[in-house]
Each structure stands twice: as structure tokens, then as C-alpha cells.
């Protein structure tokens, strides 16, 4: 029997309405062989969690483009732990903060919030997919 595809959950967090990149991500990760549950735009933390639980997702990919990423994303890791999603991978990417903060600082800030990987607006999607597979494999070995 074929191994079932890995479930991932995708969406644009908070009250962010940017939908173009979200559709590109859905198409890209589906093509890469993932089973994508795309929640679309304006997704609350609770919706990410509920979808991840029902679909048994191994990773949540959070997008934020409107500059309020910091306030929207804080606390998601804690909520995951509270809901029993201890091992889930959290990725975040986009225009995460307003202004010209160096990316290293942004990355450090979001990693401190519990995100496993942090990406800027111009990241290479093939790299993201490769890192996702590596991280998922590492999680599986750890189990």
C-alpha cells in the first residue's frame, strides 16, 4: 500500500486578506505531494488548530503579509501544546513586521515564539519544501 500523503495546513493569519501568495503556496505544496488543507485568508489561531487536529497535520504553514504578523502569531505554539499538538512543525513566512528590521532579528523573534522555520517574502519555495521534508523526517526519527 502507498504511504498516505503528509497532511499540512496552510493559511494567512489574522485579518490579513492577501490571497494571491496563499493560492500559489497551495498549488506548489500540492504539486510537491503534500495533502494541503488551505484555510485561505483571515484565519484565526483557533482555526489553524482545529484544522490541524482533524486532518492530523504534521505541519502548519502560517503566512502574514500585512505587517501585523508579530501580534497575530504570538501564542500559537502554546495553544498547540495545550491542544495536544506537541510535535507539530510551525513554519511562518511573509512580510512579518513593519519597517526595515534586519531579517536575522525577525527570524530570532519568531523562533523565540516557537516557530521552527521563519521565511522572508522572497524565499525560494523549493528550499522551503526541502527543509519541510527534512524537518518531518527528523521528527519521525525522533518518535
Amino acid at each position: 500500500m502507498n504511504t498516505p500523503p503528509i497532511n499540512i495546513v496552510l493559511g494567512v493569519i489574522g485579518f490579513d486578506c492577501h490571497s494571491v501568495g496563499n493560492k500559489i503556496l497551495e498549488a506548489f505544496f500540492t504539486e510537491q505531494g503534500f495533502k494541503v488543507t488551505n484555510l485561505g485568508v483571515m484565519v484565526s489561531q483557533e482555526e489553524f488548530l482545529q484544522a490541524a487536529i482533524e486532518t492530523g497535520a504534521k505541519a502548519i504553514l502560517v503566512s502574514s503579509l500585512y505587517g501585523h504578523g508579530e501580534i497575530d502569531c504570538v501564542g500559537l505554539r502554546e495553544k498547540c501544546r495545550e491542544q495536544g499538538l506537541d510535535d507539530i512543525l510551525l513554519y511562518v513566512g511573509g512580510n512579518l513586521v513593519v519597517g526595515k528590521t534586519p531579517f536575522e532579528q525577525v527570524e530570532a523573534k519568531f523562533k523565540a515564539m516557537g516557530y521552527d522555520r521563519v521565511f522572508g517574502p522572497d524565499c525560494d519555495l523549493a528550499t522551503v519544501a526541502r527543509l519541510l521534508r527534512e524537518d518531518l523526517a527528523a521528527r519521525q526519527r525522533a518518535d
Binding site: 498516505p4 497532511n7 495533502k35 482533524e54 486532518t55
Partner: protein, 544 residues
């Protein structure tokens, strides 16, 4: 055997039935049919003329339900509807032909031997169909499970999310629902809770039927773990995130109802003699509502509220989300055809629970042309009708209390059935986030049940949701035209939908009466307006 006396019959209806009708070109094959509803208190029935042309009601009858053996009461009703001799019993069904006095004017000669019309029946006797829902996330699979169970005609005994706790299991063992509908996880999705719940259910003493309608990847494991239980495995109610797939589980519930629940109450023998299968009463109502939306062009979108002594049921036919600028849907897209059941909203058995709900309302206790209801009078009324459900109001004050409770049932049942809007301010302006169904533009609302039938001119919707006070965030209908099933025919047309969907639907709509429009002021005497809706079903309006 003692047979209960029938209530006085309606001679006018019988005269109407015997009146020769003018044959029309499309009237060549009129069909008679009987709809029966075996309720917990009364067994009701009606003989209809369906088929091509204008469907109509010919006769109706009711008798107290014979709870020890349900077919006896059903037989009494059938005997009356078909003008059969007093010694006739339901066991004579296979040997009986239609008397010449019934359904005359059908273009047949009276010496012809005519078979009995088809008899379709529903049952809600002995508490109806009791289902518990076990799922994963309350807002997702549990909610879908609830909607599926409701649309199958069930009354919920409990809903449980995530892992079944010891106390949840004890509650299921104690309440003993007929069916546990168990879902959770998309196909290929969550497994852990499903696996744990399988083991816990396997160890429990619950001996009803389990329907597994969760993650399909677990199905084989579930079959093994629960091999010693009565288990039915069906397709997942949510195979992919947010996608509804209710029909297989609904069908499983219907089959279990037929195979296990109707047995032992005599309904199986009645089914064998009539050659038709019983349906849970609310499922028949759900099917009727769907048939109306399918077959009556002006009724694609409407709401029906069934106001009862124990529960208030709401049925809606309307798209959940209509889009629009600055509007975003959050959570599940609810199905276009939805039923919800509120077990704490009812005029008699649930009156005290209802009063507790109403105590938190900000709508003033005003009534339409009736004296104001004081809290003391309301409390006294609630206590009386809770203890003695057969009580009828004997004074204007009690009439007012009853009207107030009825309006409260409608208000809260509709608000819970409908969705909500929440305003959100963004840098680019305000947007609205919608959850649940947007019923604001729904143009028609039907009230059915004993209370509305007895008070067809009372503007109950206006009393429930006064236009002047309607909160914008509640997605309840804004200005529906209200109708009443004043002959209380819908529960008797429901069973006929399986065979005559178009005719039953057309007759259901034709038999309604419009509630007179009121000005937005709630203090309009309910006898003052005389809006007369034209009534397409002539026999109904002049003979009953």
C-alpha cells in the same frame, strides 16, 4: 379489545370527499394516499388525493396512541379514514378493498374492486430516535455529526468531543441512546483519539448500535476492536477538511431505525402489512421541507419552525454564505438544508428550561393584544404546564403567558440555528466575519405545530424578533412573510414524500395560511387585521 373513541369527525370534509368533482384533462389518474404519524400521545392520519391536478385533503382522523401496541391506534385511524366497518382491524389490511364511498369522483365506477391506497407512516413513539454524537473538534467533526444526526430525524442525548472520558462513557451507558454516531478525523487525518475511543467503547457496557463515520484509515482497526459490538461502518462525515458527507451516515441511521428501533413495538408487523417502511417523524419533516424547495418554484428558500411541547425544531433551506464585499466566512460552510433541535425550548415539558433561557432576554415582555405577562404569572404558568402538559390556557393572562413562551421558543431556536456577524476593523476599513448560516434574506417562514395551528393569526415572529429591536449581528430573517400550517398537515404529508414528493410538497404549500402582516409596533391586537390570503386549495379552506 377496547378501542379508544375517536374525536368528533369533520362531516364537512366527508361531504367534500363525496362531492362529485369535474373531471379535468390531467385528472385521469388521481391517486389516493394515507399519511400517518404515530406520535407519543396521538396517532394522526389523513387521506389525501395526490397525483396530477390539484392535490387535496379528503379526510383526517386522530386517536390516542396505543402505546402497548402501536398498530391498534393506527388501525383505528385507517378504519376511519377509509370508512371501514367497526369490526375491521389493521390485521385485515391485506384482505380489504376500498369502499365505494371513499375517493368518489375519480372516474371509476363504484362496483369496481379498488385496492387500498398506499399507507405511509412515521413514528416518534417512545421518545423518538435517540442519538449521541462522539467526535473530535467541537466546531468541526462534532458539529457535522450533530447536523447529520438531526437531519436523520434524531434527538441528541449528548455530544462528546476529543477523547471519551470516564464520565462521558458513564453518561452514554446511562442514557443508552439508540445509536452512537461516532466521527472525527478527516480521511488520512487524526487517528489517536479515534483509536483510544474505540478501545474505550469496546470496554463499555453500551449495547446499542455504533455507527463509525470517522477517518477511513481507522475503519479496519475499529472493526477489529469492536467486533463484539453492534457496529456499522460508513463513509466519513467529513472526508476532507470542511467537506460535508452526511448521506451515508444518514442512510445508516435510517437502516438501523428500521432494523432495530421499530422492532418490538408492533411497527414491524404494520410495515409488513402496508408494504411501506416507517420513518422517524422529524426525518419525514426534513424530507418534506427538501421536497418543497425542490418542487415549488417560489419556495427554494424558506424556514420552517416546528414548535412542540418538548422541543423546537428549525429547518432551513437556504445557502449558508452569500459572499459580498467585506464579508468573510469563518468555520464550516453549513449545509443548504439544515435541521436543528433545541431540547430546552418547548411549550410544555420543556417549559421550565425555556423560562430559564428567557430570563436572560433583553426583549421586553410585551404581547400582541394580550395583557402584559408579569414574572409571577409566567412562573406560575410554567410550573403548571411543566407538571401537566395537557393544560390549556383558561384566562387572558394565561393566553399571554403561552404566547410569550411560544415567541421565546421561536426567538432562541432561530438565533441558534442562524449564524452571526462580527465586525472587524482593518486599516483598509471595516469587514464582517460570518459564522454559521446567513438567513437574513430568506423570504418565507412557516410555523407548524399544535400551538401555531391553534393561533394562526398571532404574529409570533414579530413577537419573537420585534423589527425595531432586531440586532444586526444576528443572521435571522429580516422581513419574512410568515405562514402557518393551520391544519397541522405537514406531519401527515411528510411520510408521503418518499412516494409522492411533488404532490406532497405542493399540497403542503397550498394548505398554509398567511399570518396577517402587522405594523412594526408590537401592540397590535391580533384580531384587528383582516389580510386574507388567497387559498389555492379549495377543499381545505371550505371544508375544515
Amino acid at each position: 379489545m377496547d378501542r379508544p373513541a375517536l374525536p368528533p369527525t369533520d362531516r364537512a370534509a366527508e361531504r367534500a370527499a363525496e362531492r362529485p368533482s369535474v373531471a379535468r384533462p390531467d385528472d385521469h389518474a388521481p391517486t389516493l394516499a394515507i399519511g400517518l404519524d404515530i406520535g407519543s400521545t396521538f396517532t394522526k392520519g389523513a387521506l389525501f388525493r395526490l397525483g396530477p391536478g390539484d392535490p387535496c385533503l379528503l379526510r383526517r382522523a386522530a386517536t390516542p396512541t396505543t402505546t402497548a401496541h402501536l398498530p391498534d391506534g393506527a388501525g383505528t385511524v385507517i378504519r376511519h379514514l377509509l370508512d371501514l366497518p367497526p369490526a375491521w382491524t389493521w390485521e385485515d389490511l391485506p384482505r380489504t378493498s376500498l369502499p365505494s364511498s371513499v375517493g368518489a369522483g375519480d372516474g371509476q365506477t363504484s362496483d369496481e374492486v379498488r385496492p387500498l391506497p398506499p399507507i405511509h407512516f412515521t413514528s416518534s413513539a417512545k421518545g423518538g430516535l435517540r442519538v449521541a454524537v462522539v467526535g473530535l473538534v467541537p466546531e468541526l467533526s462534532v458539529q457535522i455529526g450533530r447536523l447529520v444526526a438531526w437531519s436523520a430525524g434524531a434527538r441528541l442525548t449528548g455530544t462528546y468531543s476529543y477523547r471519551l472520558t470516564d464520565s462521558a462513557l458513564a453518561e452514554i451507558e446511562q442514557t443508552r441512546p439508540d445509536i452512537v454516531l461516532w466521527c472525527g478525523g478527516t480521511d488520512g487525518g487524526h487517528e489517536r483519539s479515534g483509536r483510544e475511543n474505540a478501545q474505550r467503547l469496546a470496554r463499555s457496557s453500551y449495547d446499542g448500535t455504533l455507527i463509525y463515520a470517522g477517518n477511513a484509515l481507522l475503519a479496519d482497526e475499529v472493526r477489529q476492536t469492536l467486533a463484539h459490538k453492534r457496529l456499522v461502518v460508513t463513509a466519513n462525515v467529513m472526508p476532507e477538511f470542511g467537506r460535508f458527507n452526511g448521506e451515508p451516515a444518514r442512510e445508516a441511521i435510517r437502516t438501523i431505525f428500521l432494523q432495530t428501533i421499530v422492532q418490538g413495538k408492533g411497527l414491524d408487523r404494520l410495515a409488513a402489512l402496508t408494504g411501506t417502511e416507517p420513518v422517524p417523524t422529524p426525518r419525514a419533516m426534513f424530507d418534506l421541507v427538501g421536497a418543497i424547495a425542490d418542487h415549488c418554484p417560489d419556495w427554494r428558500e424558506f424556514i420552517a419552525i416546528d414548535l412542540g411541547g418538548a422541543t423546537t425544531d428549525v429547518y432551513s433551506c437556504a445557502p449558508a454564505f452569500r459572499g459580498g464585499e467585506g464579508l468573510r466566512l469563518r468555520g464550516l460552510v453549513e449545509p443548504e438544508r439544515k435541521r436543528s433541535v433545541e431540547g430546552d425550548l418547548g411549550l410544555r415539558i420543556s417549559a421550565s428550561a425555556l423560562a430559564a433561557v428567557l430570563a436572560g432576554d433583553d426583549v421586553p415582555v410585551t404581547t400582541v393584544g394580550l395583557p402584559p405577562v408579569t414574572p409571577t404569572a409566567l412562573a406560575a404558568w410554567v410550573e403548571r404546564v411543566g407538571a401537566h402538559p395537557e393544560t390549556l390556557p383558561a384566562s387572558p393572562e394565561e393566553e399571554a403567558a403561552d404566547a410569550w413562551l411560544a415567541a421565546g421558543c421561536i426567538r432562541h431556536a432561530l438565533r441558534r440555528h442562524a449564524g452571526r456577524l462580527e465586525p472587524v476593523w482593518l486599516p483598509e476599513g471595516q469587514v464582517w466575519v460570518q459564522t454559521g448560516k446567513d438567513l437574513r434574506p430568506v423570504p418565507r417562514l412557516v410555523l407548524t405545530g399544535g400551538y401555531p395551528a391553534a393561533h394562526p393569526r398571532l404574529p409570533l415572529f414579530e413577537l419573537a424578533e420585534p423589527a425595531a429591536r432586531r440586532a444586526p449581528e444576528l443572521l435571522v430573517p429580516q422581513a419574512p412573510r410568515c405562514f402557518v400550517d393551520h391544519l397541522y398537515l405537514w406531519p401527515l404529508l411528510g411520510p408521503l414524500v418518499a412516494r409522492f414528493p411533488a404532490a406532497a410538497a405542493r399540497l403542503a404549500v397550498a394548505s398554509l395560511t398567511a399570518v396577517p402582516a402587522v405594523a412594526s409596533c408590537p401592540d397590535v391586537p391580533h384580531t384587528a387585521t383582516t389580510d386574507k390570503e388567497s387559498h389555492p386549495c379549495e377543499i381545505l379552506s371550505d371544508s375544515l
